[in-house]
Symmetry: C2
Subunit: 369 residues, 2 copies
């Protein structure tokens, strides 16, 4: 996102940089205190916190930044502790989701490094331990994800009364968790049940999955959460959601395009990773709608095969382009982005906040990683 910072007013950019630093410090401080607590159980248990600290060093901080500007737009003060803590909770929730997602998808890499289960597998191999290294890696990562999910909750709780029982912010946080898990399940279900479901409704199913698994959680909930913490009323939160939903959808469709066509050097993921994982994204759903029966069989046969040859990936990419699916996805991104920008213009927030949200929106949909 840094390349877009020039579009921000200098004071806004400085404020965002300060928040980013507070967030990084807040994450590190929180995890340090947890490392000490785990160390008291047993020194080896600190490994779980190390894995979380390592993973949360990377990432674009998009959700935390949306929460921050949502907070500011609702009248919250600059550099407020509550906004930092909420950001820490969101970043930890995101990390927990990624750790478990990578187990489910058998992903080898994340943010340019080995995924957490592969890191633990590597530890097993280096130590020449007994039994199965892969199984140990998955078990350790599963527990690391559980711990990370619990720490996210602890961080959210530490925000204080604004996030307490019965508050709007708590309701949003709970809804976010539930929807992400439901959306992830629909994603897993579509991988296995999709091939026997009608191709005509595949795009709708893919859109529903991306809405719950990603869009609402990546943009709508963080922005509204920040707004709610600062006491924003229903009208403001609704306006936030109407801007953020198309933005989140565009963001995820961009992600789907990058998952098939992205440059590994930029994404930190192998080329065509989504194809190996068998993700039935909007891109695939569009392809299925227009391709021939033979092409469809080819797609169903190779999608989700972990041993996909580079040449097959090329063939699949060519099919996706030829079918018009890539163009259709790019058009959806354009339309959704236009809708988001239109609603952004109508948001009842300071120009400074509007400018920051515009820069975040640009980065979300124009990104290459």
């Amino acid at each position: 996102m840094d390349q877009l910072r020039p579009t921000l007013a200098p004071s806004t950019a400085a404020e965002q940089t300060a928040y980013r630093q507070d967030l990084t410090d807040g994450l590190a401080g929180f995890l340090d205190s947890k490392r000490v607590a785990l160390h008291e159980v047993a020194p080896e248990a600190g490994t779980l916190v190390d894995a979380i600290a390592d993973l949360t060093q990377g990432g674009k901080r998009m959700r935390a930044l949306l929460a921050y500007w949502g907070w500011r737009g609702a009248g919250g003060g600059a550099a407020a502790e509550q906004a930092v803590r909420a950001g820490v909770a969101l970043e930890l929730f995101q990390a927990a989701a990624l750790i478990h997602d990578d187990i489910i998808d058998r992903s080898d890499t994340r943010r340019g490094k080995p995924s957490v289960h592969r890191q633990f597998e590597g530890l097993h191999l280096r130590q020449s331990w007994s039994m199965d290294a892969e199984r140990y890696g998955v078990a350790a990562a599963l527990l690391t994800g559980d711990l990370c999910l619990s720490l996210s909750e602890e961080a959210f709780n530490s925000v204080g009364p604004e996030a307490g029982s019965g508050t709007e912010a708590r309701r949003i946080f709970d809804q976010m968790r539930t929807e992400v898990m439901a959306g992830q399940y629909l994603d897993v279900l579509e991988e296995v049940a999709g091939p026997s479901r009608p191709a005509e409704t595949a795009v709708d199913r893919a859109l529903q999955i991306l809405r719950f698994k990603s869009a609402k959680y990546s943009t709508v909930h963080p922005l509204c959460l920040g707004g709610a913490l600062a006491g924003g009323g229903p009208d403001l939160l609704q306006a936030y959601a109407q801007f953020a939903l198309p933005l989140g959808e565009a963001f995820q469709i961009r992600d789907d395009v990058l998952g098939v066509f992205g440059d590994p050097a930029a994404t930190g993921k192998p080329a065509g990773d989504d194809l190996r994982e068998g993700k039935r994204t909007v891109l695939i759903a569009h392809t299925l709608k227009t391709c021939s029966e033979a092409e469809r069989r080819f797609l169903d046969e190779h999608l989700g095969s972990s041993l996909l040859a580079d040449s097959t990936i090329e063939e699949l990419r060519a099919l996706i382009v030829r079918s018009g699916a890539l163009a259709a996805a790019e058009q959806m991104i354009e339309e959704l982005t236009a809708a988001a920008y239109q609603r952004l213009d109508g948001l009842p927030v300071d120009p400074e906040v509007g400018g920051a949200l515009r820069a975040l929106a640009d980065a979300a949909v124009r990104r290459t990683s």
Copy 2:
């Protein structure tokens, strides 16, 4: 536990029965509301809640009952809503831990039924879906466990201000989660690193694992949580912990004995399940300390082998008996139980509460399932 109810005064038994019913109703009502919420995301997502509802119908409710009597012993009122909600949170946390534990241990059964990942695997097979049934089962169960962990937190939050940010009850709940996850990791680690670690310290390592993975979480934290919610002071909570820790340790060693020697009809688990899973319990640690080098090699070779023949299980059991490990474990249970009872007598609680805690303690250490 029902067979022990005659030792309770009739009024205590009636109160406990009423709490159990409130707990069952509270769980069902909470999960029904979540099923509705998930149904709004997509009808298929309700499956995750169904799996949680099914699993939480079973179980002994030991943790919830300890929380209830901890609450009552600290002056909390009978049939209070807070104690029910805390019980719901504890039961859901336990369910989340079991779902993920069964994935890690590759357990086929839980509470006499297929484990959650096996249930989802069965659904895949019945529906003749594509891709790998086992992999789908694990992915769906992983997400169900994540959802269950999140719902446990939601339930705990619904207790209200007594469980809010900065309270003792919140601190205990957070500590419980962190310690269980750390303890489970130590357990997984011992399975792979144990064979290359000194046999002389194996018992100490096994005791440390059972303390964090199970004992504190099964007895100490629930009892103290109930006490803290009712406003119990540090002296009472410390007395609770001093009673509950040896009880929890005895409870878990009984569990370890049942995991090797238990009757499958009573435990709802296959015979010798812990041996197939490679658990390095106190029983195994004791065996390693006294057995011959050849016996040790036999143990290391077969422990954790999923294809363990019944005859090999018999040989392993005979070795554990012959080494004196079973007798040593029974003696530990006796001594820990005696220590717990002694501290129970000194607890500053009403005789009614003391009687209820004694009945729970009896059930925890004398059980066959």
